[in-house]
């Protein structure tokens, strides 16, 4: 099965290269991401697989929201400039790029260093993380413990992205008023089934967040699940009753708390001042709190992003 998986992986990426219709492009992209996340799982990294699957789902949603307004279903992507060109001419045009890429590919393969990989650091991490950071998930231990400095900036970049999206997509005359309904009546079936599904989604997100330090998952993946809840809510009730500005402020506020918590717990090394007996409890409390904060922050961020794209679509 796994042999076929990688071949499918490459085939779906080639399909994206040769596809010209935008909708199919996005469908191929989703297929590609699905295969990718299964492959990640087979490579022993459930955390990354989960993140990739969730991210790909969100990305496809955003893409579809974006293009739905602008492209009719039958329109070709390359209708604009490549009209009337024969296939042979297109192929001839692509030859230099093809030569460059194939040449680079073989060059890189030729120069692949032939040294045995060093696994010293991995062994050290696996032996030490339980006493140093706590928890049972080594990925979370690195993510929130050893390399929390990177994680801070990664959270920051999400904040910046959200600020940028709100800043750039803002225009005064096309603001959608808070609390307005759309004209389209929502489907009863949809509302009912989402009402059944929503609690399960929230429970799943909460499970991922709270159990992030002892099993696969964590703040980010759980936060994405929580954000899905908001999207379901939008689909059920179709109301704009939440102010984007407030959510944005909440996100920043949570981020400030994250900085303060990490500054106290990691940069100042709070554990070194504690009696040895309570350190394990303190460590798991720290991991849970961090996962919770990151989860809430990510949920807020993706909610704002989704809302922004939706309001752009409505304009």
């Amino acid at each position: 099965m796994t042999q076929g998986l990688l071949v499918l992986w490459i085939v779906s990426s080639l399909a994206i290269v040769f596809e010209t219709r935008t909708y199919r492009l996005i469908i191929y992209f989703s297929i590609f991401s699905l295969i990718t996340s299964v492959a990640y799982f087979l490579l022993g990294s459930p955390d990354v697989a989960m993140a990739e699957a969730a991210i790909a789902a969100f990305a496809s949603i955003f893409f579809i929201i974006c293009i739905e307004k602008y492209y009719s279903r039958k329109e070709n992507v390359e209708k604009d400039s490549a009209k009337g060109e024969s296939l042979a001419r297109k192929a001839v045009k692509a030859v230099p790029a093809l030569v460059l890429c194939v040449g680079l590919f073989f060059l890189v393969i030729y120069f692949i260093p032939g040294i045995e990989p060093s696994h010293y650091l991995k062994h050290l991490y696996l032996q030490r993380f339980m006493t140093d950071v706590g928890g049972e998930n080594a990925v979370t231990a690195i993510y929130l413990g050893y390399r929390v400095y990177d994680t801070l900036f990664e959270a920051l970049i999400l904040v910046i992205a959200v600020v940028a999206v709100t800043h750039m997509s803002y225009s005064e005359k096309t603001q959608v008023a808070d609390g307005s309904h759309s004209e389209i009546e929502t489907s009863r079936v949809a509302a009912l089934s989402l009402r059944i599904i929503c609690p399960i989604i929230v429970a799943f997100g909460a499970y991922l967040i709270i159990n992030g330090h002892i099993s696969a998952g964590g703040g980010f993946q759980g936060g994405l699940a929580l954000a899905t809840f908001f999207i379901c809510r939008y689909m059920v009730y179709d109301i704009y009753d939440i102010s984007v500005k407030n959510v944005l402020q909440w996100e920043e506020f949570i981020f400030a708390i994250i900085i303060v918590v990490t500054a106290i717990a990691v940069f100042l090394g709070a554990a070194t001042y504690m009696p040895a007996a309570i350190v394990p409890i303190y460590q798991s409390v720290y991991l849970i709190i961090m996962n919770l904060l990151i989860g809430l922050k990510v949920a807020c961020a993706f909610f704002v992003l989704f809302y922004r794209y939706i309001t752009i679509e409505r304009e």
Partner: protein, 124 residues
Amino acid sequence: MGIFNTENLEIFSLALFFISFFGIITSKNMIKSIIFVMLIQTAVIMFWLKLGREDTATPIPPIIYDPALLDYMERIADPLPQALTLTAIIIGFSVVAVIITMFNALYRLHGTADWKKLEEVEGD
């Protein structure tokens, strides 16, 4: 395990890297370029995760619920690349979200997603 062994995985991810690079160089449409940028990120991440394998068998996730697992150290996947790629995925998506917004604004201004036309309009 045939194709799914360590060396081939590396070559596959490099192949995807240059396929998407080819796509970036040749694609005429902006949405396609954005998708290829996401693909090239995926290729790099696959390459990173491949670094975590020590032998060719399917690795165990680095979740040590039982200390006895540590005896099979070489079968456990490397946690460091996983943590790093988690960071890289989120960063990549944040940037892509901003790029999608820019695409939206551009499309509203000029009504086209074609690189050539946009360069004619904007390239002064």
